[in-house]
Amino acid sequence: MSYPPGFLQRIMRWCCPQDRVDLVGDFLELYDERRISEGIVTANFRFFIDSVSLLPLKAISKNRYKQSKKRNFMFGNYFKIAERNLIRDKAHSLINITGLSVGLACAFIILLHVRFELSFDTFHEKADQIHRVQHVYSVIGAPIGPKMVEEYPEIIDVTRIHPWNKQLRTEITADEIYYADYFVADNNFFETFTFEFVHGDPDDALNGPESLVVTESIARKYFGDENPIGKIVQIENLNRPGKYPFQVSGVIKDVPVNSHLQFDHVVSFELLMNNPNVPIIDSWINDWIITYLVLQPGADPGPVEKDYKRFYENYSGSTFTDPSFRLMPMTKVRNHSTYLRADVIDQGNINHIRLFSVVAVLVLLIACINYMNMATARSAKRTKEVGLRKVMGAVVPQLITQFLIESVVFTFLALILALGLVYLTLPVLEQITGISFSFNILQEFGSTIVLILAITLSTGILAGSYPAFYLSSFSPTRTLKGETKTGKSATAIRKGLIIAQLAVSATLIVSSFVVLDQMRFVKNKNLGFQPEQVMLLAYGRNPTVNSKWDLIKGELQNIPGILAVASTSSVPGDNAPYWGYKFVGYSEEEHGEGWPGYYVGPNFLEMLGMEMIMGRPFSEDFETDQNAFILNESAWKEAINTYGDDWKEPIGRIIEYHTTERGELSMIKRGEVIGVVGDFHHRSLQNEIESLIIHQSPRNSVIMVKVDSKQIQSVLTILEEKWEDLGSGRPFKAEFLDDQFAQYYESESRFSTLIYIFCGLAILIASLGLFGLVSFTAQQRIKEIGIRKVLGASVLKIFLLITSDFFKLIIISLLISFPVAWYVSSLWLENFAYRINISWVSFILAASITALLSLVTISYKAMKASLANPVNSLRTE
């Protein structure tokens, strides 16, 4: 029989509705007849014309003849075969399911974490309208918010909060005393934010300076099961000295964990108004109030942000020098504020969230590749099945469906295991990393389940896709004849997959080493002071303690085990606020330029072992030292740059300190520079060392004691006994400076822990994949190996033959991974102002680990293949 030329056939097939193989048959039959009766030219021509005449049919055809009905009855069979495959090769199934379930478990854990972070503050009804005002700080002057409401029509409302985190003494009855932190908030606090009320009315719960709103658990703690509304609570030193009664006017449900505002007591902002103890309430330049603006629905904060410079200079009378002013949307406050110099809330980091998500996808991808490799590696065992199915009439889409079903069945089995893994490891992970994962599982149960199922299904389909296409493409004649050799393209794809897998693992390994290096650097870096054995006791700027400080100090120094005592206001790690420092004779501004100020007690510098470059530290022997200044090295250098070479000799020059302590910005003190201290890390290594101007403050807030490391316990006991007598009105709480300093790296160290874990898992899964591939290769070349052995090849030669291929793959994947790893690690390192240079040691180590692990994995199979008796492999030919 004769056929029309290929291109005509293609035209005809294209004109045919896809489901009409019978039509193709009709065409070919007709062509054959015409070819004989009418000759080749006419036959070709009419074939073409007839093809075109099919187009209307193609247009109306709805694929009615698709063989879907036929396929349906095979589904049961697919599951049965999947089950048999699962049981037949238990070791293989176990490896496969383990890989998938570990990958899925990783993905779920990260999914939970990411969803938790992204759910922050979404529960407020006005979440889309609320914006937090922030510039270099999360706080701003008190009059700014209300003025903005007057100025801009798109701003509807403002709510201001002052977190009074001072552990205030709170008295329920004379015997029942607690210490608590307070939010001082505008009366519309509960209109702006959505917190559910148990008792009371959100609209007027905060009206009046005596009102107090507490959370449900606080109400239960204070009053048991009694109705808390109307109960009286005495609070001490809340924005004014002395004890005043407050009346519970509302009880809200406990604040959700995914709220960046965390509080349990709220009192009215009216307390701060017309209060002689709060002279800065009308000041535009004191940054101390968190301000939330409610915008018109859908309003764009952009114009307000741009206009702010004009607005600020117009009303404050001072110049605006802060380009980072922003209205930060409520739902972004938590994760997008890392650029701030300091924040009053616990921050998240959107970059960490993004990196985690990428890692989740990568680990899942490795698991998928793993499955692909294992499935294709075992293809030799399936070729006969495919051949037979094709002979019995299975078409390619049917076979693809079959293999996809098989991989989905495997993934869903892995899902069960993965859920178990997540359930078992979550509490442990939460403990190790301090990250919350599980909170919203129940709250958003439905969508979580849907997401989990969707991830599982797509993983199954992705993992099964390549094997399905690969296996279904086998030619029945060849497979049934017993040929199992595969094409070059299939081998190339499989190699590509293994390279991708190894590259991802190697990237993670390198990154882990960089993270490890940096974290070690952070822990061991010379801070310029000695934080060890220094205990911090906060007494909250209490005037009684400050007035009898000399007495207290003497008493503390007599406690055995205490080596030195100092008081301070600034503690290493804290943000150093900017105030006006006038370098007399050099600075032209009336109130000086803004410099970060550092307020310490007399022997602060000596106690922390800081080194003086010139001059002397503060001394209690000189009365004038109350007004003296010490520069740190950076400030000294900056002074030389700004005010000229005169400042190379700073000692004895005069500086004035201007602040708003008395309400208006004015000079507070004037004194000589008595020394220059070497730079020390007054903040964590994420931040640059700033130019500090150090001076004494009459209003310190923290006692620092240096303790003999052998007597820490006894000192603690004695201090706790004496604490009450100091009269600070705060509970006893001792912290060590080095511990507290380490807390600034908490988010980074959480991040690093997780990266180590995922790195380990990625390596595990990748090893499984390699194992699969090497078994495949060994099987493919089993006859070749047999013949080589018969002809006299040594075991070692055969071993090298099998493994050398893999070493090429390893080297390629390392070459790919190194630049990626370098780039990703440098991104992370940018979080730190002080960071390591990425060392080549990390790369060498990662390379060795990858190579070694790969070698170990492939050796087993390679050895087995090279030791096998050639008789077994050759006799079946």
Binding site: D22, L23, G25, D26, L28, E29, I49, P56, I60, R64
Partner: protein, 115 residues
């Protein structure tokens, strides 16, 4: 728009031809049968569009048959007329006959006798 309960002239021919062919009524056979009996050319497109429409209306039923080597290994699709197809054929025929009966003798000069 073709009404669901009506068939056109070509469709009627196709269905009748399927009736003539009986068991062997597949696309190409129908085409050849019409061409030889009625001496007219039928394009593949027109025939199969007609078959498709008729099957959609429920007047025809098709099944896939055996594959033969002659056709490049592709199966044939055999058509048969369903009960409703037969009913509509009968209706068409009866309607015609009613009309024929109404024509007076001698009106059509080519038909002197009443048929």
């Amino acid at each position: 728009m073709v009404s669901r309960n009506n068939i056109g002239e070509f469709e009627e021919i196709v269905m009748l031809t399927i009736g003539i062919l009986g068991e062997g009524a597949y696309g190409l056979a129908i085409k050849k049968e019409i061409e030889s009996r009625l001496n007219r050319t039928v394009s593949m497109g027109a025939l199969h569009t007609g078959l498709y429409r008729l099957e959609e209306k429920g007047f025809l039923l098709s099944r896939l048959g055996e594959a033969t080597k002659k056709r490049g290994g592709k199966p044939k699709r055999y058509f048969s007329v369903t009960a409703s197809g037969q009913k509509i054929l009968k209706e068409v025929m009866e309607n015609r006959q009613k009309l024929w009966k109404g024509i007076s003798r001698g009106t059509f000069e080519l038909f002197p006798e009443k048929i």
